[in-house]
């Protein structure tokens, strides 16, 4: 584990309630969905994670509640480290605050998650379908597990 990542995790653990997981040398932090914006802002401004490579989600229905995990892949250009941020969202009217004001790259990525998982990003300026047709009828969110 790189020194920067170690410091980051120690410092964010001191200030927030987060769980940290390690698998194959990759570090994941779990945060509360309510705090996602402040947490991302903290990571970007205080810990140099200046790039958000990806936003995606995984559906754990029916074996887990809350059923969705939204996953952010952050990258720090300066320190050359990656960090995965996860948050758990309930399947009943799933919604989460947008981070597109913090990372512009999240704009389309969140639209894609909205399109394929049906998760609403509150505060998103342009929440339309991304890859599915606008007149799509059928299963509303195709990547949901049934």
């Amino acid at each position: 584990m790189s020194e920067h990542l170690q410091n980051t995790i120690t410092r964010i653990q001191a200030r927030n309630h987060v769980e940290v997981e390690e698998f194959r040398g990759e570090y994941t932090v779990f945060v509360d969905p309510e705090k996602i914006q402040t947490f991302m802002l903290e990571l970007r401004d205080q810990h140099d994670f200046n790039i958000c490579m990806d936003v995606t989600a995984v559906d754990y229905y029916p074996q887990e509640t809350p059923r969705f995990h939204v996953i952010y892949q952050l990258y720090s250009m300066q320190h050359n480290v990656r960090l995965q941020v996860r948050t758990r969202i309930d399947g009943n009217h799933p919604k989460l605050d947008t981070v597109q004001g913090i990372y512009a790259s999240a704009n389309w990525k969140e639209r894609e998650v909205y399109d394929l998982f049906g998760i609403h990003f509150t505060g998103h300026p342009d929440l339309r379908r991304m890859v599915m047709p606008e007149d799509w009828v059928g299963q509303a969110s195709i990547l949901m597990k049934s």
Binding site: F23, R24, E26, T28, N50, I51, C52, M53, D54, T56, V58, I71, Q73, M77, N80, R82, Q84, Y103, A104, S105, N107, W108, L116, P125, D126, R128, R129, M130, V131, M132, P133, E134, D135, V137, I142, L143
Partner: protein, 409 residues
């Protein structure tokens, strides 16, 4: 059959300025079928005369649901779909997918397979850049470039046909190594290519570097600053054309890229011309990598011996009972990696290609997500093209090297 819902202007109301509503600016639809969109990309343009006020890209015309389909295939089968994503970079896509599977299963890849992977991935980068150079120069009116670039691309595709029997959808790189060893003619064929290419690259330079029209239409067009690049998460030649020396082959080496000596070409201007220069110089660097890899190509097996994940060679099946059982098990059930999730990223010709893979301990991936460079880079088109002429928009869209199969998945 349900009626096709008509999408009204009101739904796009928040995307265009008030001037469009009063009729002061014009809304114009470009694509999805347009020769300069390299596939099926629709751009909704807001124009003030000939000047672009805003661009609203609309993608998804090639959406094939790869991520969903992968959930119902086993790990070997799902790899085949990665060829079809970014159809100009099948070797690189296979490589990224296999690296993700290998990280999940902790498979070791023999050194010979690593070196051949690097050679093939770099050949693929050259072929992709050649196609980009040909088509984007064609967009700007340089017709002959297209013919020359396709002539050289043919040489690379012939090498792929030689090693895998396929020209484009190769699926040659497999989890744990390669499908099979390369034939004996491989080295000589690649060396012929290495010998021919530097002169050809010089020819391209001669054709474009002194071409006033090409220079006028690329210099100072579509400028991206470093901050834009970070905000939009851009990568690859686009970010290197803005002066950021970021290349995953150097920064987070995979497949033994750290064994080779090569430079990262960067240009600080951030315009279409800088991106063109970066790609042309990258071709020369790729030739360097291929030459080094060929010179120290080790001998040995090309597949891992871990029979839990990698099928045994055909020659063993006839003489070994265990090999037959492994073969049968692997091709009927597939293999079962431990539960967990990994994110692997490689440097594709277009930028960072990432694979997020999650396993729940069964033979099928629980979730495969592909982080594709075109999807990310397309998002920056509006930033690049505002206040430029509509004719320059063609050059700007061309300069980020879009492959719509890559964006839509």
């Amino acid at each position: 059959m349900t009626d096709i819902r008509e999408v009204s202007v009101d739904e796009l109301r928040h995307l265009v300025s008030d001037r469009a509503m009063s009729g002061e600016t014009m809304l114009l639809n470009m694509g999805p079928q347009h020769p300069s969109t390299h596939g099926v990309l629709r751009l909704l343009l807001e124009l003030d005369g000939e000047v672009v006020v805003n661009v609203i890209p609309d993608i998804g015309f090639l959406h094939t649901g790869v991520e969903k389909t992968a959930e119902s295939k086993n790990y070997q089968q799902a790899e085949v779909m990665t060829d079809r994503l970014d159809y100009l970079n099948p070797m690189g896509n296979n490589l990224t997918y296999c690296l993700a599977v290998e990280k999940l299963t902790e498979l070791d890849v023999p050194p010979r397979a690593q070196a051949i992977r690097v050679i093939l991935a770099e050949l693929q980068r050259i072929s992709s850049h050649l196609l980009w150079l040909g088509t984007s120069a064609l967009d700007l009116g340089a017709m002959s470039m297209f013919l020359y670039c396709f002539r050289e691309r043919e040489l690379v595709l012939n090498i792929f046909e030689l090693v895998s029997g396929q020209r484009m959808m190769t699926t040659f790189i497999r989890p744990g190594g390669l499908w099979r060893d390369v034939p004996v003619e491989f080295e000589a064929t690649v060396r012929d290519f290495l010998k021919a290419m530097p002169r050809r690259i010089k020819e391209y330079d001669d054709l474009l570097e002194k071409n006033e029209i090409f220079l006028d239409r690329t210099k100072g067009i579509g400028i991206l600053t470093k901050e834009d690049c970070f905000q939009y998460g851009l990568s690859g030649p686009v970010i290197r054309g803005s002066g950021v020396a970021h290349d995953l082959r150097k920064k987070q080496p995979y497949s033994g890229y750290d064994l080779y000596d090569f430079d990262i070409p960067t240009h600080p201007e951030g315009d279409v011309y800088a991106r063109y220069r970066v790609r042309v110089e990258e071709m020369t660097q790729s030739l360097r990598i291929i030459e080094q890899a060929l010179n120290k190509l080790p001998y040995g097996p090309v597949r891992s011996n871990n029979r839990k994940y990698v099928p045994p060679p055909r020659s063993e099946i006839g003489v070994s009972m265990e090999a037959l059982i492994h073969h049968f098990k692997l091709w009927t059930e597939g293999f079962t990696p431990p539960a967990g999730h990994v994110y692997v990223a490689t440097e594709s010709p277009r930028g960072e290609l990432g694979v997020y893979m999650e396993s729940d301990g069964t033979a099928r991936p629980y979730r495969v997500h592909l982080v594709t460079p075109t999807f990310v880079n397309l998002q920056a088109v509006p930033v690049m093209s505002r206040k430029h002429y509509i004719a320059d928009l063609i050059g700007i869209v061309g300069s980020i090297d879009i492959v719509l199969g890559d964006a839509d998945r």
